[in-house]
Amino acid sequence: MHPARSVILFTTLSGLGFGLLIWLGLGLPTVTGWSAFAFFSVAYLLAGGGLIASTFHLGRPERGLKAFTQWRTSWLSREAWCSAATLLVMALYGAGLVFLEARWALLGWIGAALSLLTVFTTSMIYTQLRSVPRWHMALTPALFLSLALAGGALLAGQVGYAMPLLLLAGAIQIAHWLRGDGALARSGSTMNSATGLTGGPVRAFEPPHTGPNYLLHEMVHVVGRKHATRLRAIALVMMVLVPAGCLALPFSHSIAALAVLSHLLGILASRWLFFAEAEHVVGLYYGKR
């Protein structure tokens, strides 16, 4: 799949933002006044910024509100509802903390649950696609959820939770890569099943047009697989090992900043691979799998 910058930024930033909101909703840490304002600002900039980035890949963003109508069948529509509900509930909860120094615990728990649900709906947009076997597995929501929880704990300064969650996210990431590598083969889709031709191996003899097209640009991305192994190592080190190492050191603000920055860059690398490595079965029609 084409690793579009808008979608990589959206899933990375909003994942971290909603991850932070989960912990704030749980009251970990319980902050009030200006420090609550700072925590909520970071969370809303990440979550909201990510959501705004996601509209940049729309062909007709001015009709965006229509995306709220099909929650019965569409995970994208459900995500729109969950993210809007989360941001509303958490705004109310945050206002209590910032302005009234009051913690409405029940509201916080509802907000935390909605934040978690939002990350889940984001992951299901990809997981539901049978046409992309690498995404179509239970490990995909596990990966998104564990990363949001780990990144959120890191941002919320929850060292005790962040350490095991980072290691868990790293383990799920490795499993996602390993299972993902055989996913296309396990899906049973081949050039023979795509064309229905039997009696021997099928070779793409001539493409439909001499030029490129939307399908090739969007779904038959083949650049970048060359460096996949190196990028995986970089992603894992920056996303998990560096932040975990930082957490093991005595606390200081500069080390905490390093841990967050490294984690963010690691997720960006991992998310880039998530798209660039994903093989859409339509590539079979072009002999590109």
Partner: protein, 250 residues
């Protein structure tokens, strides 16, 4: 509404004969022509006369080579457009309700004024049947020429999809695949019509008729085999003379 209908009254679709298709691309051109001039946003081209032309097409013809274990390679031309699936994943993923499947005839359509151009339906389609128009920012797909098949202003023989009407080889057939007595259903039964990528669980309405078995040449043509082991005459002398030169012979 992006909920798929439980069942449709009719299942209008295409039957494509891979044995007959000659790969002339006439269906591609007639499709582009009709659907640019009629229903919905035109199918745009980007730098059509430039160095790197591209554009939106609802129907594209691939060509494949099948290499049997024993025998000669075969070339198969393969037109591909929307298969109007019964379990169309492109409909249920749509967040706005722009994508829908009609209850009366099973045609999968896009209401372009509701489409936000998110592209998720194109991602969900295993066949690459949907293309986002780069000029209009909305999703385009085969409408089964809905503005032809029900169009009373056209002569009756033209009330079929443009690709079917134009095919000079008769490789494309249009009809109700939900009616076992229809001409297309009988053709599918007779020729062993198949679904593309059945493992994707989309239950396509369009069927493909596989190429018929080709005649086999019993033995390789004689002309390709050496007629003499030892060369004689002038060429034989030349062969031996050249072999004797430094670097010659093997």
């Amino acid at each position: 509404m992006t909920t798929l209908p439980q069942s449709t009254d009719r299942k209008l679709g295409l039957v494509i004969d891979l044995d007959t298709c000659v790969g002339c691309h006439a269906c591609v051109i007639s499709c582009k022509g009709w659907n640019t001039e009629n229903y919905g946003a035109p199918l745009s081209d980007q730098s059509p006369y430039g160095a790197d032309p591209s554009g939106t097409f609802l129907n594209r013809v691939h060509s494949y080579e099948v290499q049997p274990e024993d025998g000669l390679a075969q070339l198969v031309h393969f037109p591909k457009s929307c298969l109007h699936c019964e379990d169309a994943p492109c409909v249920t993923v749509c967040p706005t309700g722009a994508s829908y499947k009609r209850t009366e005839d099973g045609i999968v359509l896009v209401n372009e004024s509701d489409c936000i151009g998110c592209g998720l339906c194109a991602w969900s389609c295993p066949y690459g049947a949907r293309e986002l128009d780069a000029a209009e920012g909305v999703m385009k797909k085969c409408t089964l020429c809905i503005d032809r098949i029900y169009n009373d202003n056209l002569p009756e023989e033209d009330r079929m999809p443009a690709c079917v009407r134009t095919c000079p080889a008769g490789a494309r057939h249009f009809g109700d695949l939900g009616d076992p007595a229809s001409a297309v259903s009988r053709l599918v039964a007779e020729r062993g019509g198949i679904d593309l990528m059945p493992e994707q669980g989309t239950r396509p309405v369009n069927k493909y008729l596989p190429p018929r078995p080709k005649d086999r040449i019993a033995a390789a043509p004689k002309a390709l085999e050496p007629v003499a082991e030892e060369a004689t005459g002038f060429l034989g002398w030349l062969d031996r003379a050249l072999d004797r030169l430094p670097g010659g012979g093997d």
